[in-house]
C-alpha cells in the first residue's frame, strides 16, 4: 500500500517535470511546486509504525488535499486507478481538526507529500463520520495509544455516546 502510493507520486513528479520541459519549449509559465496532504483512512494505513494497534480496512478512496495546479490534479486522477485507488472528489470537504500536524511522507523535485497525524485523522472521523468508523474509534480509544483522542473529539464537537 505504502509502496504503491510512493510509485504513484514518483510517477506524478516525473509527469510534472516532463510537462514543465514542454512548457519551457512553448514559452508557457511552468507548473509551481505542489503540496499534497493525505487525509482519511489512507493516512492511517501508510503510518503503520503509529497505527499498529488498529485493525484497518480501506476502500480504494484516496482522500487528499491537492494544493496543486490543474494539470497535477488531473494527472494524479488518471494515474491512481492503475494502482487500485480513486481520488475522492469530496476531499476538500474533509474536516481537519485544530492542532493537526502534517508529517513528511515524500519530498520530490516538484512535489511535497505530507500526511496528517493519526490522532487528528481519528478525531476527524469520530466527529464527521461516526457511524462508518464506530468500531475503529472504539478500538483507538480502548488502545490508549492516542492520549488526547477523547478530549479532542469532545472539543471538536463529537459525541462519545455514539460509540457506546
Amino acid at each position: 500500500m505504502k509502496e504503491k502510493l510512493v510509485t504513484v507520486f514518483r510517477l506524478l513528479d516525473k509527469q510534472i517535470n516532463y510537462e514543465n520541459k514542454e512548457r519551457l519549449i512553448r514559452g508557457s509559465p511552468p507548473i509551481a511546486h505542489s503540496r499534497i496532504e493525505i487525509l482519511g483512512q489512507t493516512s492511517l494505513l501508510i503510518q503503520p509504525e503509529l497505527t499498529y494497534g488498529l485493525s484497518l480496512a480501506q476502500t480504494g478512496d484516496l482522500d487528499a488535499l491537492l494544493r496543486a495546479d490543474h494539470f497535477v490534479k488531473q494527472s494524479l486522477k488518471k494515474i491512481l486507478p492503475t494502482y487500485g485507488f480513486m481520488y475522492d472528489e469530496d476531499s476538500p470537504l474533509i474536516f481537519v481538526p485544530n492542532d493537526s500536524q502534517f508529517l513528511p511522507f515524500l519530498n520530490l523535485l516538484m512535489l511535497e507529500v505530507v500526511v496528517i497525524d493519526p490522532e487528528s485523522a481519528l478525531v476527524s472521523k469520530a466527529v464527521k463520520a461516526p457511524e462508518k468508523n464506530i468500531q475503529l474509534i472504539r478500538q483507538a480509544i480502548a488502545s490508549d495509544e492516542f492520549p488526547n483522542l477523547v478530549e479532542r473529539i469532545i472539543k471538536a464537537g463529537g459525541d462519545l455516546k455514539k460509540f457506546t
Binding site: M1, L45, P48, T51, Y52, L54, S55, L56, A57, Q58, T59, G60, D61, P81, T82, G84, M86, E131, K132, N133, I134, Q135, R138, Q139, I141, A142, V150, I154, L160, K161, F163, T164
Partner: protein, 179 residues
C-alpha cells in the same frame, strides 16, 4: 452520564468488536474483498480466502465489524456475480435491486444499508486485481436498430472493406462525426 462512564462503555463495546473480528465470517469476507482488490487492509486474511462466498456472511461482517464491506459489496456482486451464494433475506433482496441499478449504470439508484448509491457506484470503475473484469466505462451496451436493407448492404460492404465488425464500424463513424 459522565465521560468516564462513557469511556468504560466504549471499552466494553471494543471488547465485543475484538471478538467479532475473530469471527470466521469477517475473515472470509475480508479475504475475498482484499484478494479481488475492493479493499486494502493491514491484517492478513490470505488463509481464509474462498472462491465462493455467502452474501449473508458479508452483510454480517459489514454490519458488525467493518462498514466499508457494505460500501463495496454491491459493486463486487455486480462485477463478480458467480462468486456469491445468495439467500432470500430482506437485505439480500435490497442488494439485488442495487446491483440491477449498477448494471443499468443508473445515475441515481438504490442505496444499501445506509450507504448512498453515489458512493457505491464509484467501485464499478475500480480496476480489479485480476484485471479480467471490465470497468463500467468500458463495458459495451446492447442497442437494437431497424435499418433500411440498402443501409445494411452498405454496412456489409464497409465492414468487409475495413475488416471490422458492424459495431466497430458504427463506433468509428460516430467518432468521426463528433470530431
Amino acid at each position: 452520564m459522565n465521560n468516564k462512564k462513557l469511556i468504560e462503555q466504549i471499552k466494553k463495546a471494543a471488547l465485543k468488536d475484538d471478538k467479532n473480528r475473530k469471527d470466521i465470517r469477517f475473515k472470509k469476507a475480508m479475504a475475498f474483498l482484499v484478494r479481488k482488490g475492493f479493499l486494502k487492509t493491514n491484517m492478513n486474511f490470505e488463509n481464509y480466502y474462498q472462491a465462493k462466498i455467502k452474501i449473508k456472511d458479508l452483510i454480517w461482517a459489514g454490519k458488525n465489524v467493518e462498514p466499508r464491506i457494505l460500501e463495496v459489496l454491491p459493486a463486487a456482486v455486480a462485477r463478480l456475480p458467480r462468486a456469491f451464494i445468495f439467500d432470500t433475506t430482506k437485505d439480500t433482496k435490497t442488494l439485488q435491486q442495487v446491483v440491477c441499478d449498477l448494471n443499468e449504470n443508473k445515475v441515481n439508484g438504490t442505496g444499501f444499508l445506509k450507504m448512498p448509491y453515489e458512493k457505491i457506484k464509484v467501485w464499478m470503475n475500480l480496476p480489479l486485481n485480476d484485471g479480467r473484469t471490465k470497468i463500467t466505462e468500458n463495458k459495451k451496451i446492447m442497442r437494437t436498430f431497424r435499418l433500411k436493407p440498402e443501409t445494411i448492404h452498405k454496412m456489409e460492404l464497409l465492414k468487409n472493406k475495413n475488416g471490422t465488425s458492424e459495431a466497430a464500424l458504427i463506433e468509428s463513424l460516430v467518432e468521426k462525426a463528433i470530431l
